[in-house]
């Protein structure tokens, strides 16, 4: 067996992530005639926000219009790599080498500078039964609808918190599904008190469009107690104080906002900090989105704020990389950050709910670790992530903690512990060992 020699490629800038932030950054570099490579893990460009199949491209908001224009502009370019996974970053001789797995081979990209635009993933408040087939994340439902034109079932229940529930339910119903109910965890009074100040014209118009269709089916202050399989259907028990409500649907879509995908930034040397008002652990940057050491971060990784924030930050990061600054963009970013903070505050999960997760609830879906297993270890006095990992196996499965780490972080915080970041090691996501061997099977 012989070790495969990775192909080395030098470039001025490497952009990790081809969502709206990465695309915005790439366009700026393109316009300045800079040499760059953009890599994305998915088989398509555009990230979650723009992952629409060609027959279905809505241009209903200014941000979406601009997003699709970026996609169109960069389409088919050879320096844009899809299905390419960044799995490591190595320092040596004062330069960084970023390891990418593509077409069953390893490429070592040696960039002068790096822009990390790896977006976010959904967060969850687990309940007994949340691992059943037929219970999906809100994003999964939306992706099925917009990428594949497929409905996960004829009648769906949506439960969780945040405007994304409403947006996804709207798209699902427009595609022919039937929304049985949208159960927002937060009470209407809290939403009404803070939201109107946060919304600008574009976002207000978008919200109105969704509400016109779905308002009568929206319920506020409801929490998922548990879910069970009932034949091919899903039975969901909801609670509000002492009141209980049982619904049966073809599927349940659940989601509680987003958490930044900071892993690639961390492995490239960026620091993270815990900012609940921005979604959890976020990449630490200056106003110019510079993390130091030639690495820049933009979009959801610096704080959960939506597509328009990502679009603005992508441009700022690329301009910073070029040693330029645009005051107008910096001011726009400040407004987006203010919006992000209100949104994450309004649609948050009350702290005590993390402590009320029943013991038999699975927390780590990869390794089937339950709440009771974690509680027991914490009660014994262990609370450092490493200790929990070693004793329970949380964060040690295929997803490497991407799903359970934010949950465990919130639970520990509710128990009065200080959140600590996860230590990140290569490979960032599982890769086939065959890619490291000459002529290896992958």
């Amino acid at each position: 067996m012989k070790r495969a020699k990775p192909q080395e490629i030098k470039t001025k800038a490497l952009i990790i992530g081809g969502g709206i932030a990465g695309l915005a950054a790439a366009t700026v570099l393109e316009d300045h005639g800079e040499d760059y490579i953009l890599v994305d893990e998915y088989p398509f460009m555009g990230g979650q926000y723009l992952r629409h199949r060609e027959e279905y491209i809505p241009r209903d908001t200014e941000t979406r219009k601009q997003g699709f224009a970026l996609l169109e502009k960069l389409k088919g370019k050879e320096n844009i790599w899809t299905s390419s996974l960044v799995f490591g970053c190595y320092n040596g001789n004062g330069e960084k080498a970023v390891a990418v797995s593509k077409d069953g081979r390893v490429f070592l990209i040696k960039p002068e500078k790096i822009i990390v635009a790896t977006g976010a993933r959904e967060k969850f408040l687990p309940f007994p039964g949340w691992t059943l087939p037929g219970i999906l994340s809100v994003g999964a439902v939306q992706a099925l609808v917009k990428t594949s034109g497929t409905l996960p079932g004829k009648e769906g229940i949506f439960a969780g918190t945040g405007p994304f529930l409403l947006a996804a339910a709207y798209e699902y119903e427009k595609a022919g599904g039937r929304v049985l109910g949208i159960f927002e965890l937060n009470p209407l009074a809290k939403l009404l008190k803070f939201l109107p100040h946060a919304l600008d014209k574009e976002k207000f118009k978008e919200a109105l469009r969704y509400l016109r269709l779905l308002w009568s089916r929206m319920k506020f202050g409801w929490k998922v107690e548990r879910a069970e399989a009932e034949g091919e259907k899903i039975k969901v028990v909801m609670s509000k104080g002492r009141a209980r409500k049982t619904l049966v649907g073809d599927f349940l879509a659940t989601g509680y906002g987003f958490s930044p995908n900071t892993e690639a930034a961390q492995i490239c040397g960026c620091e993270v900090e815990y900012k609940p008002e921005l979604g959890g652990f976020v990449v630490k940057t200056g106003e110019d989105l510079n993390c130091g050491d030639g690495v820049y971060a933009c979009g959801e990784v610096t704080g959960i704020g939506g597509a328009r924030k990502s679009l603005i930050e992508g441009k700022i990061a690329a301009l910073s990389l070029l040693g330029k600054k645009d005051e107008k963009l910096l001011n726009q970013r400040k407004r987006e950050l203010a919006f992000a903070r209100s949104l994450n505050f309004v649609f948050s999960v009350p702290r005590d709910l993390w402590k009320k997760i029943p013991d038999d609830t699975i927390i780590c879906r990869c390794e089937d670790v339950r709440m009771g297993d974690i509680k027991k270890v914490v009660e014994e006095g262990f609370s450092f992530l490493r200790e929990l990992k070693e004793t329970t196996r949380i964060t040690m499965g295929n997803c490497q903690g991407r799903t359970c780490f934010p949950i465990v972080t919130e639970y520990l915080r509710a128990m009065g512990k200080k959140p600590e970041p996860m230590s990140i090691r290569p490979p960032l996501k599982p890769v086939e060992t065959g890619i490291f061997v000459e002529g290896g099977e992958t």
Partner: protein
Amino acid sequence: MKPVTIKVNGKSVRAREGEMLAAALLRAGIRVFRRSPQGQPRSLFCGMGTCFECLVKADGRWVRSCITPVKEGMEVEVEEG
């Protein structure tokens, strides 16, 4: 999208070229994609390549079916529900 045929556990399933494999499986009425370490049924969950719940074997390789495009003649193995 162009109609194609794939094989799932040896049976022919109709799909559309380029759509995500998970979508084709769900439309074919396949609800369980794999089993967890404790033997529980699992299926599509995050839909964006994060959670690894939708892992299946396609043409002999483990793939996340939510971010794997369908190809004509693809041979897919799921763990029977």
